[in-house]
């Protein structure tokens, strides 16, 4: 390694060291600081039956059994928050495909769903934040029983639950 190259790497190393020191220090004192290791989002779990959800402006998380029960009863609208490519390769039967960005652009996408109909959002699993983003967004739109199937698609598939393939449908007007 020539002295020139060594000098350049030393410069780059100094900058990385300084950035690390400043970044960690600032992250510690900043009110917007975040934990250095990302943890799955914190959600509030629905603690009772989801079949007759009481009014709740906040979207609540549900587990796979509650999600399966809602699907069997057929009253809830399932919304897949993942991207269309993933949806096409498999999704919960009857689920709509509405990525959160799309809903933000066009809130009319779920206008045909009455506000008191239970809505279940999901994405690939606990580490994806699309289902919670979407659930909170829908709850903020005034829907009164929004549920987030937190474990999402991966657990659904692992448990051998019914799935459906193919391109998305939209809510029927």
């Amino acid at each position: 390694m020539s002295s020139d190259t060594r000098k350049i790497f030393a410069e780059a190393g100094r900058i990385i060291l300084l950035a690390t020191a400043l970044g960690l220090a600032y992250n510690t004192i900043s009110p917007n600081g975040i934990s250095l290791v990302r943890t799955p989002q914190q959600v509030t779990w629905a603690n009772d039956s989801t079949t007759n959800p009481a009014y709740n402006a906040q979207a609540l998380a549900i587990d796979i059994n509650q999600a399966a029960q809602l699907l069997r009863e057929g009253k809830a609208v399932f919304i897949d928050a993942r991207h269309e490519e993933e949806y096409v390769q498999g999704h919960i039967p009857g689920a709509l495909c509405i990525p959160v960005e799309e809903l933000k652009r066009n809130p009319g996408l779920i206008a045909s769903v009455p506000k008191d109909v239970p809505i279940v959002t999901y994405c690939s699993g606990e580490e994806c934040e699309l289902s919670t983003d979407l659930g909170y967004k829908i709850a903020a739109m005034g829907y009164t029983s929004v549920r987030i199937f937190f474990a999402g698609w991966l657990e659904w598939k692992q448990h051998g639950m019914p799935i459906e393939l193919g391109p998305p449908g939209r809510p029927q007007p």
Binding site: S3, F9, E11, A12, N27, N32, G33, I34
Partner: protein, 171 residues
């Protein structure tokens, strides 16, 4: 041809233009990410490239590297080291955006923080490629070589190593 490129890059005003433009872009891009690391972390998470545990540390440190390299380019300190880091970052960004485009992800770029809310797309890719060319230009520009390096190249290392070489920088 090589001489021609070196002559053009040796132009004082081009050197200023490249360093200031790229420097300000990187400082600008860093500011909101430094202020809102959670937004940036979410933008990174949407790419589905980094392992989950690594996202936050990346979101905390990367904006600071952008900020410091930007300032260094403007202030003309550690220019080549900074240019090297910027080249490395831009390559990472280009790869990430390409992967997102290939996967057809409809996500916010996160390039300039999330407030600008620009989507991942071909124009983002082109921007990064233009910046990459500028960064390489800064890196290879004879203007940003140190005095010692130039002397060593011209006269060989013996002269540069002599004690009476007053132009040697201490570090």
């Amino acid at each position: 041809m090589k001489l021609g490129v070196q002559t053009v890059l040796g132009n004082k005003w081009l050197d200023y233009a490249l360093r200031y433009a790229l420097g300000f872009i990187f400082v600008y891009a860093a500011v909101e990410k430094v202020a809102q690391p959670e937004d940036f972390a979410r933008a990174i998470a949407n790419y589905h490239i980094l392992p989950f545990f690594a996202i936050n540390i990346f979101a905390v440190l990367l904006p600071w590297i952008e900020l410091l390299t930007g300032i260094a380019l403007i202030g003309k300190v550690n220019v080549r080291g900074s240019a090297l880091l910027i080249i490395a970052m831009l390559v990472v960004f280009i790869v990430a955006i390409t992967i997102a485009l290939v996967r057809g992800l409809d996500i916010s770029c996160g390039c300039f923080g999330t407030a600008s809310a620009s989507k991942v797309g071909l124009s983002r890719l082109l921007e990064d490629i233009v910046m990459l060319i500028a960064a390489v230009g800064i890196y290879v520009s004879p203007r940003n070589r140190t005095l010692r390096t130039s002397a060593a190249e011209i006269f060989g290392t013996t002269l540069a190593a002599t004690p009476c070489d007053r132009d040697r920088s201490s570090s």
